[in-house]
Amino acid sequence: MAIRQLSPETVNRIAAGEVVERPASVVKELVENAIDAGATQIEIVISGGGLSLIRVTDDGSGMTPDDLVLAVERHATSKLDEEDLFDIRCLGFRGEALPSIGSIARLEIRSRPADANQGAAVTVTRGSKAPVGPAAVNRGTVVEVRDLFSATPARLKFLKSERAEAMAVTDVVRRLAMAHPDIGFTLQTGEKKPAVFARGDRSSAAWLERIGAIMGREFMDDALEVSGAGSGASAPMRVFGFAGLPTLHRQDSTQQFLFVNGRPVKDKLLIGAVRAAYGDLIPRGRSPLLALFLDVAPSDVDVNVHPAKAEVRFRDAGRVRALMVRALSDALATAGHRASAQGGVLTVESFAAGILPSAAMSPPPSSDAAYQWAPPRPAPALSGTGFAEGAQTPFAVFDAPSADARTFAEPAAGETVDKPLGAVRAQVHENYIVAQTRDGLVIVDQHAAHERLVYEKLKAALADGGVARQGLLIPAIVELDDDDAVTLVARSDELTELGLVIESFGEGAVAVREVPALLGETDVEGLVKDLAAELRSDGTARALKDRLDSVASRMACHGSVRSGRRLTVEEMNALLRQMEATPYSGQCNHGRPTYVALKLTDIERLFGRR
């Protein structure tokens, strides 16, 4: 076959195949354009899952008739300075989206810049452009896409149900809305009421409001503000956002929202950083909830590595990772003892469930029967003496297991209700400490809490006392890939600090001379291989730390106050004060909360006072 130059229509359709995978991709491109145009209000309407209609209306800069002609031309963009391909400040930069969409659908753009009295319109029907004409339109731009994929029936076959496509559109809009609290969004996907995200500003309160509207109240209540700055490869960078308390977690990472320069991304490096920061605070296999916005200088990140711009490449990945881990860890450490407020909500729910089914509760007297209502009769007085049943009954009290609730009517010396975990009021079931706070009460699981305290102490001791090393009679020789052996040996100083002494042993092998004494007799070869694999994949020596931590955690479990032990008020108050002072004490080593808080308002709700 002879070589031919492809027609512009074909080129556009091929490009469309990359950019426009499904209706949600069109919505993404159009909303990004509106954001780039400086809009403050964006309205999105779709029908038929976006296949029959997508309409995006904005109040941004608008386009002149001349702009309109160019906008639908391939590689026409107002956003890229050809002098500096790496200086990308807008969401769009390729000048590809509109012509691509025009090649596979019926595209109509109506637009009017603020300073023009008259609007203009252009239409592209499956690649053929009609001349620009006048049109009546408000300030801003309306883009309408109809009959998407009608020119490429093959693509239609791969689409999911209308509902699934509409969901994908919702997802795209939410992600963009999350990054732009200063823009109001309205999304209408069907017959139902539209989703409205009111316009706010870029203050952290407004941001949390917007994120909460998307991720849910539960997240809002348990969110910690994250904020950090550092220097990137060539310019400063910063990270901002909200991270859920470690006690709040999900099975998958669908509630992890990561943005780079306002662009939603799925990035391995960032996901790895999140995992590293949460570390052992979260049970294995669970994912934290968070929304983080990383801003780096355009020159320090390459966004042009993925057709849909979902992946990015950093010039200095190490610094980005370090900044992320540090900012997150700082936020998590300040959380200290704070545990999930979820506990409180769950508690209220279970209380509520507890009172409903009781048949013993008399129905509220109806108005006409009101006078018939009589106070409940008192329980029959104890009658009879000796061994009659009535006389025996009181002793049954002693059989009741763990009915022991040690209460302390007298406030403990130094009233502490103002402290975050309050003043101890009682110990119940020999494992739960009930304390009163200024605005509610907390219930502490004494075993779990103490276990965490011991664990954190051990870890701190490990960290500053250095790790004692046990010499090996016979050095263990571990065979590895050449590269792995070299990487490991290069990091040997760091490993020595963690108690592992290795040295190079010819090509593709290392000799282990000393191991952390804490590990006792351990599978040296397995440990070294795990370490090599980790250093290869994300540059951390987590395996060793993990193992040390897990020994520490096991030891913590043995050294802690078991449930079932009665504590004095002083002991309990001391426990609460230690929890307040210890980072990460809000959950136990197994990721469960160490205490739940019940707000006075929750309690009032239980009694129908609210």
């Binding site: 004692a468 046990q470 010499g471 009679l473 016979i474 004494a517």
Partner: protein, 372 residues
């Protein structure tokens, strides 16, 4: 099968054999003990596929036969019957049940056919020798603390028993190591053991053997082949598979040039280590030994728990030395020592230290130091 037997005989044999039976197993027959009645003996046999224990006791056998019943249940029943009771065991015709009657008690146990009972038959035993029970006990008791429990190094999960030579005397030598410390004990080579191969006796077999040796003073007949070992202790026979692996060349780690000798009074050393390590509550804490002219200072430093120091008068005239050891390892070794004085042969804080039991040349211990 039908027989009568005295409770004491039965209980002794059952407690010998049932200890190898795993409490939880996926192969039902392995929970059972085999009973084989012939002539005027009742033979018991139990196994976990790696080792088997059998024992024969005399019984009044009316009808010979072979069958298997749940071992722990049978053991528990016999244990609870009164002292001196006469017990009758009888299979009810063709029914798959064994009835046990004694006095007014009567039990009926579900049995399994003995046809499927695994047999660890030794095959060719190439080498046989006899050894005093006390000597064998010493070989394993003084070395077994050093057996490795790390399964990836399976070849260290037992005691290496082999013929050797020390100062021109042929010996039977037992060695165990976990890579952190090593224990070696030997005795003159018994007749018949000359050509035996070096074998690694698995940890569990070692513990079983130690138990069986507890209440005997008889001679033990040992048989060794390439893959199995057999110990005949009176009426009890323990047969075990060997660990199929190569024991490392341990000779290399035994230091020969440690010239700093410290003579330590055993009893006070043992209790001093025990006392100071009270502070070393957790695993992996070091006891520091400060050795100076005729003086040893033991220290444990635990940033959270406090510290402990104790001074002992020792015999030492080389240069001062500071060296750390894992507290537990030191205690383990101290526990093995019997003579009045222990001899520590030291080199430097990073090299292995040798410990000897006073004048007793037949036992030696090597310990790798710890560093902080």
């Amino acid at each position: 099968m039908r027989l009568e037997i005295e409770r004491g005989e039965l209980l002794k044999a059952l407690s010998h054999v049932t200890s190898v039976v795993e409490r939880r197993t996926t192969i039902p027959i392995l929970s059972n003990v085999m009973l084989k009645a012939t002539g005027d003996v009742l033979m018991f046999k139990a196994t976990d596929l790696e080792r088997e224990v059998s024992e024969s006791v005399s019984a009044k056998v009316a009808t010979p036969g072979t069958l298997t019943v749940p071992a722990h249940v049978l053991h528990d029943i016999v244990r609870k019957l009164p002292d001196g009771a006469e017990i009758e065991m009888k299979r009810d015709g063709d029914k798959e049940r064994l009835t046990i009657t004694s006095g007014h008690s009567r039990f009926s146990l579900q049995m399994l056919s003995a046809d499927d009972f695994p047999d660890l038959a030794v095959g060719e035993i190439g080498h046989e020798f006899t050894i005093e029970a006390g000597d064998l006990k010493r070989l394993i008791d003084k070395t077994r603390f050093a057996i490795s429990t790390e399964e990836t190094r399976y070849y260290l999960n037992g005691i290496y028993l082999h013929p050797a030579e020390t100062n021109g005397t042929k010996t039977l030598r037992a060695v165990a190591t976990d890579g952190h410390r090593l224990a070696q004990v030997e005795l003159p080579l018994p007749k018949g053991a000359e050509g035996m191969p070096g074998v690694i006796v698995p940890r569990k077999t070692v513990h079983e053997l130690a138990r069986l040796l507890e209440d005997t003073s008889a001679k033990v007949k040992v048989g060794v082949s390439q893959t199995k070992v057999r110990f005949e202790i009176g009426p009890v026979v323990l047969t075990s598979k060997l660990i199929d692996g190569t024991f490392p060349d341990y000779g290399r780690v035994i230091p020969h040039n440690n010239d700093k000798e410290m003579k330590v009074p055993n009893a006070s050393f043992k209790s001093a280590v025990d006392r100071v390590s009270t502070i070393a509550s957790e695993r992996g804490r070091a006891v520091k030994l400060n050795v100076g002219k005729d003086k040893l200072i033991l220290t444990v430093n635990n940033p959270e728990g406090g510290s402990a120091t104790e001074e002992i008068a020792v015999g030492y005239s080389s240069g001062p030395l500071e060296i750390g050891f894992n507290a537990r390892y030191l205690l383990d070794i101290a526990d093995q020592l019997e003579s009045e004085d222990a001899r520590f042969l030291l080199a430097d804080p990073g090299s292995p230290t040798m410990v000897r039991d006073g004048g007793d040349g037949s036992a030696l211990y090597v310990l790798m130091p710890m560093r902080v």
